[in-house]
């Protein structure tokens, strides 16, 4: 059981601290299974905070998303800490951001929330249709219970959990200042990269066709990038016109180049929170690209990002004995 | 599709003359251009304050004020500050090179309505470009206006545009010209300080006068404040806005300030209009 009272108390205490700017958590959304990030500035706002299997959003994104507007002369920027709630996967984003100096440790108060997996709303909507009213959900004895307008419905995890959660090995935050709730027993020890292997099993042509079909739907809204906690470049090369890496026009060639570039930029950095895939309005299975690189990184360099704040970034390091069987 | 009515299709024009007004990173270059097509040349008409989209094929287009008055002849003049991709390409143009022009776009300074009045132009930096046509227009129709006061400043003397023309202005009857630079310089005989303070120094009377200002946003803000101090009525004050724009014809969206499209409803606005638009001075 999630003790919301406790959560709200933690939030109130945190936000009352002088060195904290705001507290980011989740609140109920406006319809169905929706949930929205919630920025708490006043203790009263803390009463809307929730933590449930619907809290998919990786709030670490907001650490770097806030615009740094020009500070008027004579004023000082607000450099107080940001407090944020993180699930296991989200916490890896915080760690990776520390590795990449996207944030400084003393800029954040991390509220670690051990997590038993979040719901893939697409899956549950397929089972139930999209309910009008706000749905609440909770974890109970290894199951997920949705409170629907017409009563409660119980699901076994496999039915409704997001794909990323089914294979999650880090349900407990890997970094935190305050732990909210009790640590949970990880239910998956080893990532088997099943979806990746399925694609790897296809012929080249089949793979090409598969991905071309997916990429052709991309409308290049760049949501997948915007939502990514690790895509925090001041001026992303995918947007840049000088030099132009990717043309603005939306067609299969540019889309493919865009997808490859984005995925590559996240090689050894993606912490598998699955947000890009979740937000994609045209349902491109982006995690299958990211996972492929996770797999490659694991197999070739025995590396997993977002676990050790002291680690060297994969793309900025090497080992003299890195695999090189592909060299002519 | 009827080619004639496609508003996105630019006309080809050729650079006749080109020279640098200023130097440095963000230097300003003036181009004098002539349309290639005789017919276009004949049918073209514009008024002070209007702009055109000029461009280089393969690079893109930029909205640029026409910095000459129709009274000067059948050519167009543009003074362009080097900012980014397109303006850089424009800066590379030399006499004989081609560029594309479409327009004229936007409204104009109501120079006809202003007849009988004294005009004060208050410019800063590249902001003098849209003001220059007013000056030329008034010069050409000198008897129709009560007088002309030119107030113009830049960071340094090297950043002043149209230097020689400004010198000549002093010889014109009823025309006064006041120059300023931001930082003290050896041998500078004129005012040192920001344009808004120069305005106070010049202290023009609001009596039967129109004030027009153009320059960086921060300068405009203080010029407006000072004009109010000098008791100019909202209707007596004009300015131009520059927002990023792509189409120039009120479609692409980005140039709006509040419910106004700068490209169609502007770029010339009277303060009376603008002061009700919260976004204008955000």
């Amino acid at each position: 059981m999630v003790d919301l009272e406790n959560l709200r108390t933690i939030a109130k205490e945190t936000i009352s601290r002088e060195d904290v700017k705001y507290f980011i958590g989740w609140r109920e959304g406006t319809y169905g299974f929706s949930v929205s990030p919630h920025f708490v500035r006043e203790p009263a706002e803390a009463d809307k905070l929730i933590f449930s299997p619907l809290c998919s959003n990786n709030l670490a994104t907001y650490l770097t998303l806030a615009e740094k507007l020009p500070v008027p002369r004579g004023q000082e920027p607000d450099t107080r800490k940001v407090a944020l709630m993180v699930k296991g996967c989200d916490s890896r984003a915080v760690v990776q951001l520390l590795v990449e100096r996207g944030i400084e440790r003393e800029q954040v108060v991390v509220i670690g929330c051990p997590c038993q997996g979040v719901i893939d709303t697409k899956k549950v909507e397929q089972l139930l249709g999209q309910p009008e009213n706000v749905v609440r959900a909770r974890w109970e004895k290894g199951k997920i219970i949705c409170q629907l307008p017409d009563g409660e419905k119980e699901f076994i995890k496999e039915e409704v959990l997001a794909q990323k959660c089914l294979k999650c090995r880090y349900p407990n935050p890997v970094i935190y200042d305050i732990l909210f709730g009790e640590k949970v027993e990880p239910w998956c020890q080893e990532e088997d990269f099943q979806e990746v292997k399925e694609i790897e099993g296809l012929t080249l042509q089949e793979r090409w066709d598969y991905w071309q079909e997916k990429f052709s739907s991309c409308i290049r809204c760049y949501s997948c990038r915007n939502v990514c906690p690790l895509c925090y470049c001041e001026d992303c090369i995918l947007d840049r016109l000088n030099p132009t890496w990717i043309n603005r026009s939306v067609n299969i060639s540019e889309n493919t180049a865009f997808q490859l570039s984005r995925a590559f930029h996240l090689a050894g950095r993606c912490i598998e929170c699955g947000e890009c895939e979740r937000v994609c309005p045209v349902n491109i299975p982006l995690m299958k690209l990211n996972k492929k690189l996770s797999k490659a990184v694991k197999e070739m360099f025995d590396f997993e990002p977002g676990l050790d704040p002291e680690a060297k970034p994969l793309q900025a390091s090497y080992r003299p004995d890195d695999k090189e069987d592909f060299i002519l | 599709m009827n080619e004639k009515v496609n508003p996105y299709k630019p006309y080809m024009a050729t650079v006749q003359e080109a020279w640098y007004e200023t130097t440095g990173d963000r230097c300003i270059k003036t181009l004098k251009v002539l349309f290639d097509d005789e017919e276009v040349r004949e049918n073209w008409s514009h008024l002070p304050g209007q702009c055109t989209m000029i461009g280089v094929l393969g690079v893109g287009e930029s909205m640029i004020s026409i910095s000459c008055s129709p009274t000067e002849g059948k050519f167009l003049r543009f003074s362009v500050m080097r900012m980014g991709k397109v303006t850089q390409a424009i800066h590379q143009l030399e006499p004989g090179d081609k560029l594309t022009v479409r327009g004229p776009y936007g409204n104009n300074f109501p120079v006809e309505e202003w007849k009988g009045k004294r005009i004060v132009t208050i410019g800063g930096g590249i902001g003098q470009a849209p003001l220059r046509p007013i000056i030329e227009y008034v010069k050409a129709n000198r008897s129709d206006y009560e007088g002309l006061t030119v107030i113009y400043g830049a960071r340094t003397s090297a950043d002043l545009c149209f230097k020689n023309e400004l010198k000549d202005l002093r010889n014109c009857d009823g025309v006064s010209c006041h120059l300023s630079i931001d930082i003290e310089e050896e041998g500078w005989p004129h005012y040192v300080g920001f344009v808004p303070s120069l305005l106070m120094e010049v202290n023009p009377s609001p009596e039967n006068t129109i004030a027009v200002t153009c320059g960086p946003p921060i300068m405009i803000k203080f010029v407006l404040q000072n004009l109010k101090k000098l008791n100019f009525a909202d209707e007596q004050i004009y300015t131009t806005l520059e927002n990023r724009m792509k189409c120039g014809i009120g479609k692409c969206g980005r140039c709006n300030v509040g419910n106004l499209y700068v490209c169609k409803d502007g770029p010339v606005f009277s303060y009376a209009t603008l002061k009700n638009v919260p976004e204008a001075f955000a």
Binding site: G29, T30, Y31, S36, H38, N57, Y62, L65, E67, P131, E213, K214, S216, S217, I219, R220, C221, Y222, S223, V227, D239, N247, R248, S249, V250, N251, R278, V279, P281, V282, N283 | M1, P7, Y8, K9, P10, M12, L57, G58, V59, M83, T87, K98, P217, N243, K246, I249, G250, K251, C252, G253, R254, N256, V257, G258, N259, K264, P278, E279, A282
Partner: protein, 337 residues
């Protein structure tokens, strides 16, 4: 013209009868539902709720070549106009959206690219008998069976579609396949009306937009915008996929010595949208950008063209990854007024 009826199992023949024109209908392409050409052997089904990608992309493609040129050349070759098209199964909101956008593309100076396609398109609508959750078309002047912008309105009567031709274009289209269409009876019309009424009742989300157009500017400094913008990712899904959003960017692209000037969708929620070359940005943060989005739809557009630039299709609500809900925003705005 009188209403007509088409047996559901004749839908395929009906499409075949329109041969010369390209028929587009909602289809699943990859994982997405959008309007795509009906290809001979494809099973046509109109059972989809509204498409993810609105049919605006047919008249206002995401990327559109405006003209071609050669580097260093002086010839500008305008692209040719498109072919006639029929859009089958357009939802009333999307059809209304087109008439909303028509205002923009035809005010003062006509936009030849849009208008050419718009003129060559026939919209065959399908009344929304089971409106999806986040629709609020009635609140913004439409309805699940609104006819605005449509040439024909179809209503699903169970085993047949009722065809209500609304414009000469629509009538013409019906004549093309006159042998397939039966005249409808009064009870069919009545049944349709009944269904329409019921459908409207099914819509639960609503917001009162009266007074918004005038009122919104007064909330310029309101905290609402901060609240809205704070979780916003600035991703632009809500605008790219909005049937009434119409902003675009223009870019030149080169391949060797060949060049094209094209325009592509743009969004006021992107930072680059208003960014000046000098680095100055008149809308520096998501707060100003969200404020512009709402003001534009519910105030500026109304000022200029007398209609709201939102047709209540609910896409932005459904697709926003962080649950920024336009109905919710409007309600808050309303409250604050």
């Amino acid at each position: 013209m009188e209403s007509l009826k088409l047996d559901k199992d004749k839908l395929k023949d009906f499409i075949a009868a329109l041969d010369s024109k390209k028929v587009y209908a909602p289809q699943k392409v990859g994982e997405t539902i959008k309007f795509a050409p009906v290809n001979g052997d494809l099973e046509v089904s109109l059972d989809f709720a509204n498409t993810t990608v609105p049919p605006k992309e047919i008249v206002f493609p995401q990327t559109e070549t405006m003209f071609l040129f050669e580097q260093g050349g002086t010839d500008i070759n305008l692209t040719k106009g498109g072919a006639e098209k029929v859009l089958l199964g357009v939802r009333p909101c999307d059809a209304r959206a087109m008439s909303v956008v028509d205002n923009l593309f035809s005010w003062d100076i006509d936009d030849p690219y849009y208008l050419d396609k718009r003129k060559k398109i026939t919209l065959v609508g399908l009344a929304c008998l089971e409106p999806p959750l986040n629709c609020f078309c009635p609140s913004v002047g439409g309805g699940p069976a609104s006819t605005e912008g449509l040439d024909i309105l179809m209503t699903d009567l169970g085993d047949a579609y009722l065809f209500q031709p609304l414009t000469p274009k629509g009538e013409q289209l019906c004549q093309l396949s006159s042998e397939l269409l039966q005249p409808a009876g009064a009870e069919d019309n009545a049944r349709a009306e009944e269904l329409h009424r019921e459908a409207e009742k099914k819509i639960t989300r609503e917001v009162d937009i009266k007074g918004l157009a005038e009122g919104l500017p007064s909330l310029w400094k309101s905290e609402i915008w901060k609240e809205v913008a704070e979780p916003c990712l600035g991703c632009g899904i809500c605008t790219y996929l909005c049937p009434t959003c119409h902003c675009f960017d223009i870019q030149d692209e080169m391949e060797g010595l060949d060049g094209r000037r094209c325009r592509m969708w743009d969004s006021c929620l992107f930072k680059e949208y208003t960014l000046h070359a000098s680095g100055h940005n008149p809308r520096p943060s998501r707060r100003e950008r969200q404020r512009n989005r709402i003001n534009h739809k519910f105030s500026y557009f109304v000022d200029k063209f007398g209609v709201t630039a939102c047709v209540g299709c609910g896409r932005c609500i459904n697709l926003c990854p962080v649950n920024i809900d336009i109905v919710d925003i409007l309600s808050k705005v309303k409250e604050a007024l």
